[in-house]
Amino acid sequence: MSLAYETIATLRHRLLSKEIHPRDILKDLFTQIDAREKTLHAYTYLNRESALAAAEKTDLSLPLGGIPIALKDNLNALGDPCTCASKILEGYKAPYDATAVSLLRQAGSILLGRTNMDEFAMGSSTENSALGLTRNPWDPTRIPGGSSGGSAAAVAGRIALAALGSDTGGSIRQPAALCGCVGLKPTYGRISRYGLVAFASSLDQIGPLTRTVEDSALLLSVLAGHDPRDNTTDLRPPEKFLTQKNGSVQGLRFGLPKEYFLPGMDSETESAIRSAADWFKKNGATLVDVSLPHTPTAIAVYYILATAEASANLARFDGVRYGRRATDARDVLDLYHRTRSEGFGAEVKRRIILGTFVLSQGYADAYYRQAQKVRALLRQDFEKAFTQCDLLLTPTSPEPAFPLGERTQDPLKMYLADVFTISTNLAGNGAISLPCGFTKSNLPIGLQLIGPRFGEETILRAAHAFEQAHDFFQRLPPS
């Protein structure tokens, strides 16, 4: 069987026993890429030559020695493009490594390539990429989710073993759910954001997309930790996750928030999530009804705060220091206007305008400040819920992957796709999405487990137990 179908954990074992060489893994991945990438378009750039060169000199004693990893195209890696799937960063080559990228290199991994995304991570379908859309490996007429849609499609489509993504409102978990892989959004402050192109700095977090929970834990163990270059990273000492894999969920309390099980929700999704909850109960866990009463406000809070922060963060793209510059500008102001108007796509412009509006004089109190206060209430909801349970159990997405083009003309409907993921970013907690079933038409369904802040060990332990008791993670999309 092609090595592209294996997990990081099994490949590491085979590398250490000298049964295979890192170049064998790359060779099999490139064969798969040549067969599938034309349909999927998961990548924006491939490091074929540098990856093969790196494979000849990897140190297998390192935790990810010889393991190729793909990066979302918003993470700076020295010398490589970093387009954020935007025309405004055409031609840009990163002059430094993001901390997460540097940690991957130090752990011996090989940078395989860069994955497609919604422009500046703004979207839930990867249709907002200026570099073309990505297709869902389970059904190429459907979206892979977003914004880390390229990372999810690459991992699920067996053209990457694992990839990094970023999650501001669900951008790791929702595509992981829709493509049938494992996506972890760590607690805010767990992984350094230095070198991640900023969208909404109080919400953004880098995390892994993998085939298995064990691989997710391996990557988190490498990436987590304080970074003097990101002062929002937590000071706790480095941890190794999921070192004990006893498979027990005995005694764990799972909270089912009533606001996440709405009348009229997709019936196949609801039934898969209820079955997952029943499995935990049968295996010694307790199910508790909880409430997160401010959930119905989360979309509004998120799209005020995220766009406000984006309007400030994206002010740096002005055609002066890097990226695209409009030609024949009359003066500096004209240069800014023309560069930005030519360089940004529709969704980015829409969000910058919305963010500028909610911060503008006369409206900031009613929108931005009110949203910050409601965000505090949302956080309190989570804190209260975690006095009654150890983990929250919810669907990741209200429905499976929708058809390409269905929502591109209706931004509000697209925003509602994030309804079950954004509260976690607003509260700052960690959460995972893992496969928990398939629809009758063979589309993956994702289960979300949300933990208290810095509760990744419990999340991973429960997710691993569920995963290993089912075969969902072993199913392959049609080739």
Partner: protein, 93 residues
């Protein structure tokens, strides 16, 4: 509070964007719909609730010089440059 009418062109100008007439028409309709959805927030009582503020700085680092980007690396993506400086259009007449 009802959803306000945004003067899209004015707001776009604050954000250093120039919109085409098509974009102006489309964004006006879409943003009113989105702001309409956001009206739900005005019904939440938040009188005594403090705003979420950025997390307290967990640690202040020592203020000592450390290696940084070289001039060459920092200028490597500049659209126009001369004498280790980035060139921009004239800002003073």
């Amino acid at each position: 509070m009802s959803a306000p009418q945004i003067n899209i062109s004015d707001v776009a100008s604050l954000a250093r964007l120039t919109l085409t007439p098509d974009e102006t028409a489309k964004f006006s309709a879409q943003l009113s719909q989105i702001l309409g959805h956001m009206e739900t927030l005005s019904q939440i009582a938040t009188g005594a609730v403090p705003e979420v503020t950025p997390p307290a700085q967990p640690a202040l680092r020592q203020d000592i010089p450390t290696p940084s980007l070289s001039i060459e690396a920092a200028l490597s993506n500049a659209p126009a440059q001369a004498n280790d400086l980035i060139l921009v259009p004239r800002i003073l007449e």
